[in-house]
Symmetry: C2
Subunit: 287 residues, 2 copies
């Protein structure tokens, strides 16, 4: 089973209808995938989802207002966490592992605080703590230039945003786009500007903090693997440094020659590391 072919399913909970895909099997805890800015079910790289699905069920989830999920896109991370928990409750899933990428990593952190028991182990990729710096400022020149480039369309923009400006990283980006394009049917609608605006509002809110900086991270005891590309322009790697400096039980894995999409660029390494991390039942993160 693959994210190239897995059918989209729908779950009705609390007057919302959530779109998701569920595939794979094995002895591992189910793994919930929480998606990046404007991403839908179709943005999950089969090179990452499929091998992870060989040892466990994977659950790809569209939060409210994304793809074919109903409802409004929340303008706070806390609002998104509520929908994700409603989804898990609707499935009757009381414990899982989580892979939160970018925006999804923030939602994972929020859930870990709101209901710690739901996650066993967490993988946080290309994300930031509350009070993090330079989170998804698409207006800054290094990112805005790609949106303004008339030669770039659709996934070509994603290749510039998610990969580093080197031949090797851009080649990995091209391969990533080709993998996403393998899914031909049962596709989500592409997110529009209203989705982007609500999620950007959530990022701006997430940058704000009160009280002691990063104090809430010290209360997230879950074994955690933090992953980042060193040259991430969307959410700089310094945010991952702050995560592992303040989470009491987190390992950092940082990849060279890569940007926001390091997990897709180095999918073989990422899957190997994530598999080893998830296979551990230790109370400690190191694996």
């Amino acid at each position: 089973m693959s994210n190239i072919t897995a059918p989209t399913q729908f779950l009705e909970v609390n007057n919302e209808r959530y779109a998701y895909r569920r595939f794979g099997k094995g002895h591992g805890r189910p793994l919930l995938f929480l998606q990046h800015f404007t991403g839908t079910l179709d943005n999950w790289d089969p090179a990452v989802t499929d091998p992870l699905a060989s040892e466990r069920e994977v659950l790809l989830f569209n939060n409210a207002g994304l793809g074919r999920s109903s409802g409004q896109v929340p303008t706070t991370i806390a609002g998104m966490a509520k929908h994700a928990l409603a989804f898990l409750d609707g499935l009757g899933l009381t414990s899982c592992d989580v892979l939160g990428f970018s925006l999804g990593g923030m939602v994972a952190q929020q859930i870990a605080q709101d209901r710690p028991s739901v996650f066993r182990r967490m993988i946080l990729v290309g994300t930031a703590p509350r009070g993090g710096e330079d989170i998804m400022h698409l207006e800054k020149p290094s990112l805005a230039k790609h949106f303004k480039d008339p030669a770039l369309h659709g996934y070509e923009i994603l290749k510039k945003l998610f990969f580093a400006p080197t031949d090797s990283s851009q080649a990995a980006g091209e391969a990533f786009i080709q993998r996403l394009a393998q899914r031909k049917e049962d596709l989500d609608p592409v997110s529009g500007p209203e989705v982007a605006a609500a999620q950007i509002a959530a990022f701006r809110d997430w940058e704000r903090f009160t009280g002691e900086h990063f104090a809430e991270l010290k209360r997230i005891p879950h074994p955690t693997l933090v992953v980042n590309g060193i040259h991430d322009e969307m959410i700089p790697v310094s945010n991952s440094y702050r995560l592992v400096e303040n989470l009491p039980n987190a390992v950092l894995l940082a990849y060279p020659d890569s940007g926001h999409g390091s997990l897709f660029q180095f999918h073989e390494s990422f899957v190997r590391q994530a598999t080893a991390f998830l296979a551990s039942d230790s109370q400690f993160a190191p694996f």
Copy 2:
């Protein structure tokens, strides 16, 4: 074969006599161990050396003036690199992998610049680039308090310096000391204050830089694994951040709840990660 029992050997080169231990076998490239501040052959944890020796020869090396090696301790990293190269030349070893810990990681970086061909893959643990910050300032209060504590002697000081001030890290430190104490014969003399003074001078020199900060790292293309404990007080983890931000081909692995001796605290994880890294023959560091 183990560093608990491996006989100390001696190699005469250029009027110097270098003490070393060589054990293990397998298909891997030989792995050169470059030691930390004041450390001798007896300071290498068998929990790290021995499993790595199951797939390759390991070479533990006392630089000039350390343990039973002859000569003066150089007051620059470049001077130490010259001795290490003379040692490899004396053995007739033209290519190996290297594990440089702390001071040893600086020597490894220097060798990688002076003679790039000698290393295939590099592991740099708890170390800093030239121009790094807060390198081994034993006079700062967080470190000086351990030296001034009349209740602490010998390895008890090492436990405070190398491990984080948590129960779990200190317990790992105690286990580390017990492992080192298993070697009962053929021991190196403990380093005296003249060794420390010369090595401290080398650290102070290594903190200085001219020209563009970290520019020389961009010319070290070797696949590199950088490892650090998040709470390292001797050489702060920010130095490892600077390494992977400027080395073009380096993966960072950072461990929670640990200090300078993270590789000894999480020896099972470290050996597993180092083994996977060294098993790769890719031109890229990710593994």
